[in-house]
Symmetry: C2
Subunit: 205 residues, 2 copies
């Protein structure tokens, strides 16, 4: 996971000073990336993250609904999940497979999969992280896309999409298997979009 | 990863005694599981593994072609890769997608994905392990299956199959997303076999 110096440096705010909204949120995210990476999910506490960010621990609940939400946000794609969902939902049902692939490639390529590697390491190391990932899949990104277009077998379709998307990320960015690792987006879309299209709107049983 | 007591116990052979073939190989595998798990891939040495197994370090090269081959074998499915490949190749081209899914499910279900979790942890933590996994995919299991049935875009097809298979394993056994985590094999086959069939014998560009 990439954490540049500006992210990892403590914010050095005076005790008790409470910065305005977005600044607090950003400080918590930067602190969370460091604390989760250093301590793992289970041992990282909201209190420790807030202390590093120089804000009150209550801000974790206020901005992220708790440690879990903060973890999802911190380990996340460098784009707000809302933006991802909005991009994928912006079009007709018969193009959703392609939009899913293009959106994930666009987001992941920006960071060469760094957050994905961190996520896989967390997921394979902590049951807590696996639970986070389940919630993230079903409630945030994939679940909302599938629910927007699918009429049956919604939960199965969510799992199928998650499997194909995660597997693509694993092979392209973590295992780095060629030619998939450096293939252009059109090549990846031609190969994988039909799969996601079927998993979302086609027959799966 | 499951390592029962009989596997993890040192073999306590006298120094210099060289047991017959299969016994040496098994002792090295059992020792490798412990040493790789304790030390990670990079810091585990062939010498340390051989010492724990009570055999000469040259046996690592003799039986596995080196530390890499021993790692692949030790972190492996509880079935010889040769058996997996043989099962998948045993039938017509138009049923290969189904045979791939059934074979992997059969093997993975036996261990509830334990070796897969260990593999993912290694792959996300060590470039050496990612390289191992690339070699394993392309040379051992997936590559041989794809080469047996595909006539074009062989390397791309190998990556696509690897992505779908690994993603299925990740979601079913590691993230444990329902209903895919506990779905019967027929359900998983109905959903995923058509994908693998296309990745091996259908249009991918």
């Amino acid at each position: 996971m990439s954490t540049d110096a500006s992210e990892t440096a403590p914010t050095r705010r005076g005790r008790g000073r409470r910065p305005a909204g977005q600044e607090t949120r950003d400080a918590l995210l930067a602190a969370a990336r460091v604390v989760f990476t250093e301590n793992g999910f289970d041992r990282a506490t909201s209190r420790a993250i807030a202390a590093r960010a120089g804000v009150d621990a209550a801000m974790v609940n206020h901005w992220f609904g708790g440690k879990s939400g903060l973890f999802v946000a911190a380990m996340q794609l460098p784009v707000d999940p809302e933006d991802i969902v909005a991009r994928v939902l912006d079009g007709p049902a018969d193009g959703v497979g392609e939009r899913v692939v293009r959106t994930f490639l666009g987001v992941w390529d920006q960071t060469d999969g760094g957050p994905l590697v961190a996520l896989l390491r967390s997921v394979s190391g902590h049951e807590g992280a696996a639970r986070m990932f389940r919630e993230f899949i079903t409630k945030v990104v994939v679940g909302r896309v599938v629910r927007a277009y699918a009429t049956d077998h919604v939960d199965l379709r969510i799992g199928l999409c998650a499997a194909q998307i995660a597997g693509l990320g694993l092979v392209r960015y973590v295992v780095k298997l060629e030619p998939l690792a450096s293939a252009g987006h059109d090549t990846v879309v031609a190969a994988i979009a039909p799969t996601l299209q079927r998993y979302i709107t086609g027959p799966v049983t």
